[in-house]
């Protein structure tokens, strides 16, 4: 899923400064699961903003909505935005782009979109896929070196891992290559680490402009 965080309240208040009638739109899929932009979070944020603006002597009128997925037209279509000066989206960046394309008014991001990840434990999300467009997980025991190694190394660890198996960068993240090494060893597949991985084709990643996927066979 997409993992995101709500922007700091002061940044949100700053974006809303020039408006006094705004629609807050939450998203009930990924960002609801990661407790950043679902119906509940949208309601709490709207209350906070109303209170802050009231206190500042500049009241604001906020209506709330939460749709199933901001990234799909069929869920956006029923949404009415007439009469609002702006929309604050609590969807991921995809949702913000999509709403901005759809409505002829400013759409503001309420979240900082982080990454594609999974739930590690209650309240902890971890990034496990970079969406690089050229998957190598079959060679690395299902542990992604592109995103889980801070240097995206493809041929084994650098010399920086600690005795506890952590990355030199000091972020507290485990060294991906020590994890890969241990996994491959457990699986009896260590020989795949001894084969040299050629330079990666980064043109399949996001560095060649926005990526589009077309399936002619299912187009209408």
């Amino acid at each position: 899923m997409i993992v995101a965080d709500q922007k700091p309240i002061n940044e949100i208040l700053g974006m809303l400064e020039r408006y006094d009638k705004v629609l807050f739109v939450g998203c009930q899929t990924c960002v609801a699961v990661c407790m950043a932009g679902g119906e509940k979070e949208t309601g709490v944020l709207a209350s906070l903003v109303r209170l802050a603006r009231q206190k500042a002597g500049q009241p604001i009128e906020i209506d709330e909505a939460a749709i199933q997925r901001q990234c799909e037209e069929e869920f956006i279509e029923p949404l009415e935005a007439d009469g609002y000066q702006a929309i604050l989206s609590l969807g991921c960046g995809v949702g913000v782009n999509k709403l901005a394309d759809h409505f002829g008014i400013p759409v503001l991001p309420g979240l900082n979109t982080g990454f594609m990840g999974h739930i590690e434990e209650h309240g902890v999300w971890a990034e496990t896929c970079a969406g690089c467009g050229d998957c190598v997980l079959h060679r690395t025991g299902g542990i992604c070196p592109v995103v889980r190694c801070a240097k995206s190394l493809m041929n084994g660890p650098c010399g920086g891992y600690t005795d506890d198996g952590l990355c030199e960068s000091g972020t507290g993240a485990p060294c991906a290559w020590i994890a890969i090494y241990k996994r491959l060893k457990e699986l009896g597949l260590l020989e795949s680490m001894t084969e040299t991985s050629p330079p990666k084709d980064w043109s399949k990643d996001r560095f060649s402009g926005p990526r589009t996927r077309v399936r002619e066979d299912v187009r209408l």
Partner: protein
């Protein structure tokens, strides 16, 4: 002079290391390198060490060449993509540089510009392959090059690591990719180094053992805590703590370590971290260099 030519001739090779300054004035660095050069075969020039912005390694290597100093051009994968890395290797050849040490490079988070976008387009194994391929007269996508490219490529390894096997696997890949000499992370325990050398017996490549000059017991403790792969045994830390002259004791320890390890490997790489002028004494203590006799001052009549 290529380091491999010296190694092939049977010489025990000695390299030093300096880091370019933050700024544009190289006069002090050249002076330090000149005190180092008589005692060593070549001097590594670091590529923005510790992910910190400094004057470039390539420009410094060029100035070294102009001053009859033999550089080892360090090149990391951190800051340049495959286009820039290949171009810089061509530039190095054009400037007469013959030895290149290829490294991954510390992550920007460890340096003075932690907001920087890390590059790591290719890794050290891949860059070694690319550099070897340039030597065959083609860039990495097969375009022909004019002029001849004949670089002596080196790489690094960390001999003390838990687990060690991933380091050995990567070392095998580096040698397969064209590394012709290896410099190691600093070693402070000959028995650890012996274990490492036994573990890599199957890899045919000259090893230059890394020696870091200790400046104080505090520095030793700092490295033990913060530098991956560096372990200064407690007796050495104590020896530094009780030293009347830190410099003298540091020289004695380094000389002793080289003596203990020189028969296990093909050379030594000394990281003096600003104490370049001590390196000739270290090598003299290890029996690898004869200090020039001090000239007596003539009395002015």
């Amino acid at each position: 002079m290529k380091l491999t030519e010296l190694i092939d001739s049977g010489k025990f090779v000695v390299t030093g290391e300096v880091g370019p300054p933050k700024g544009t004035d190289l006069s002090d660095l050249v002076k330090e390198a000149k005190t180092l050069m008589p005692a060593v075969d070549a001097i590594n020039v670091t590529d923005m060490q510790s992910a910190t912005m400094y004057l470039g390694s390539l420009a410094t290597c060029h100035i070294f060449k102009e001053n009859d100093l033999e550089p080892v051009y360090q090149l990391t994968c951190r800051d340049r993509n495959r286009i820039a890395l290949q171009s810089d290797l061509l530039s190095a050849v054009t400037l007469g540089i013959e030895n290149v040490l290829i490294l991954t490079g510390d992550h920007p988070l460890m340096g003075d510009h932690p907001q920087a976008k890390p590059v790591y387009d290719v890794d050290s194994v891949q860059l070694l392959e690319i550099a070897s391929h340039l030597g065959e007269g083609e860039d990495m996508v097969g375009n022909e090059l004019n002029g001849k490219l004949d670089l002596c490529l080196g790489a690094v390894v960390r001999p003390i690591a838990e687990p060690l096997e991933p380091q050995i696997i990567k070392l095998e890949k580096k040698v397969k990719a064209g590394a012709r000499f290896i410099q190691t992370q600093g070693v402070f325990d000959a028995s650890h180094f012996e274990k490492f050398m036994n573990a890599i017996q199957h890899i045919d490549v000259p090893i230059l053992v890394g020696i870091i000059l200790l400046k104080s017991d505090r520095m030793a403790r700092f490295m033990n805590k913060n530098v991956a792969g560096v372990e200064v045994p407690e007796p050495l830390v104590e020896e530094m703590a009780n030293a009347k002259s830190k410099a003298k004791t540091s020289v004695q320890i380094a000389g002793r370590l080289i003596n203990e390890m020189k028969d296990m490997c093909q050379g030594v790489h000394i990281m003096s971290l600003g104490w370049e002028k001590r390196v000739p004494e270290v090598l003299a203590a290890a029996g690898l260099y004869e200090l020039p006799k001090k000239k007596k001052k003539k009395k002015v009549e």
